[in-house]
Amino acid sequence: MTLKQIFTSAVGRKLTMGLSGIFLILFLIVHVGLNACIWANDGGEMFNRAAHFMGATVVMRILEVGLFVFIFIHIIQGLMLEVSNRSKRGTAYAVSYGNRGSKWYSRSMGLLGTIILLFLVIHWIDFWIPSRFTGVEDVTLSDGKTVHNLYALMQNRFEVTWIVVVYILGCISLAYHLAHGFQSAFRSLGVYNKKYNVMLTNFGYAFAIIVSLAFIMMPVSMYFHWLS
């Protein structure tokens, strides 16, 4: 058993997809929790403080590098898996099995993942690149600390209708991607207990809906000026 087999065998590929997927799920919990600070209704103070913390220590920077490593493993392995799997049929069927045997989103993970990737590129250009490289204007918090005013940047970006629409579409794709990916990741890692699989599937549905809805509500509540 070589390291190459882990990345290239049909089962090894799924292991790397599952492991990196679970890491990204954990990141989503942090991301959605932190962003929910915008609803503190304090003019973004709590959110800006939390966002500053996420880049302030060396531990966070190392985790950020790790996050990008896992994101790219997930993207590259996912695209390779999709291309490889699509090449296995040869002649296409005249009549498709379709939704009788499986759910459409479970068959569309490559497409949903690609939509999420396109969304991510826009998302990085909007927030991550300014906050790390090109600069964001500063704001002074109540305790005198000066931090990036990412809250103002969010308000600014989410004034634009097409950006809000893109974010909503990206989050809907994420919901369907998670609805299948959550339980599939655990299957790939070998959870075969039927009861646990039912629990994980239902928990995955709830996670997909709650996380995506929370993310959707962020640009929506800013677009409609629901925050003070």
Binding site: K88, T91, Y93, Y97, R187
Partner: protein
Amino acid sequence: MEHNTMNLTLKVWRQKNANDRGNFETYQVSDISSEMSFLEMFDVLNERLIREGKDPIAFDHDCREGICGMCSMYIDGKPHGPWTQNTTCQLHMRAFKDGDTIVVEPWRAKAFPVVKDLVVDRTSFDRIIQAGGYISVNTGNAVDANALPVEKEKADAAFAAAACIGCGACVAACKNSSALLFVSAKVAHLALLPQGDPERKTRVVNMVAQMDKEGFGSCTATGACEATCPKGITIENIARLNKEYMVASLTSK
């Protein structure tokens, strides 16, 4: 059950050999009994084609009792036709209505090349079995049946996995043409029993390697294989194989 006869239109894939491009031919069949099996309906059509001096449609079949795994038609978009946990030979014409048009295709996968018409070459499955789907036992007197205790639950799960007849419907149904339901049934069957334990790690690694070599795709857990399997093999077996593979890859040399 009420017996009736029906007239049907069949669109059947015809392909002279592996190199031929192939195309659909349309046939009208009449006075088909609702109590005929799907293969008997093909027998009726083939006898007519022979009488007319035409080439009969080639299709695989053997026991016609739903236990050998030879029949292999992809009927109206589903392997083995519309019924659940059923093989083509056990599909009866009462599943259809008078005037229906039925589309019949061979299993489609690069690892299952078409030999002729609806017959595909499934020897790739045999080679996967040869790679590890067995146990090595010294010859001699048979061991006493009670010498190796097996937990009842494990015996039941192993038996359920062993029900796989290797027909290849899972490959035909899977969007990735993955053979993992088949391979996992064989791996789970032997991994659950003490007799399978000595070769447990090499078995799963070698069978997966052979599966990749044959050109089958990866599992993306859509569940289409489970939904179409004539023997009700569950995808829990695939998760079990994943676990076996992970343990084997982490702990073997």
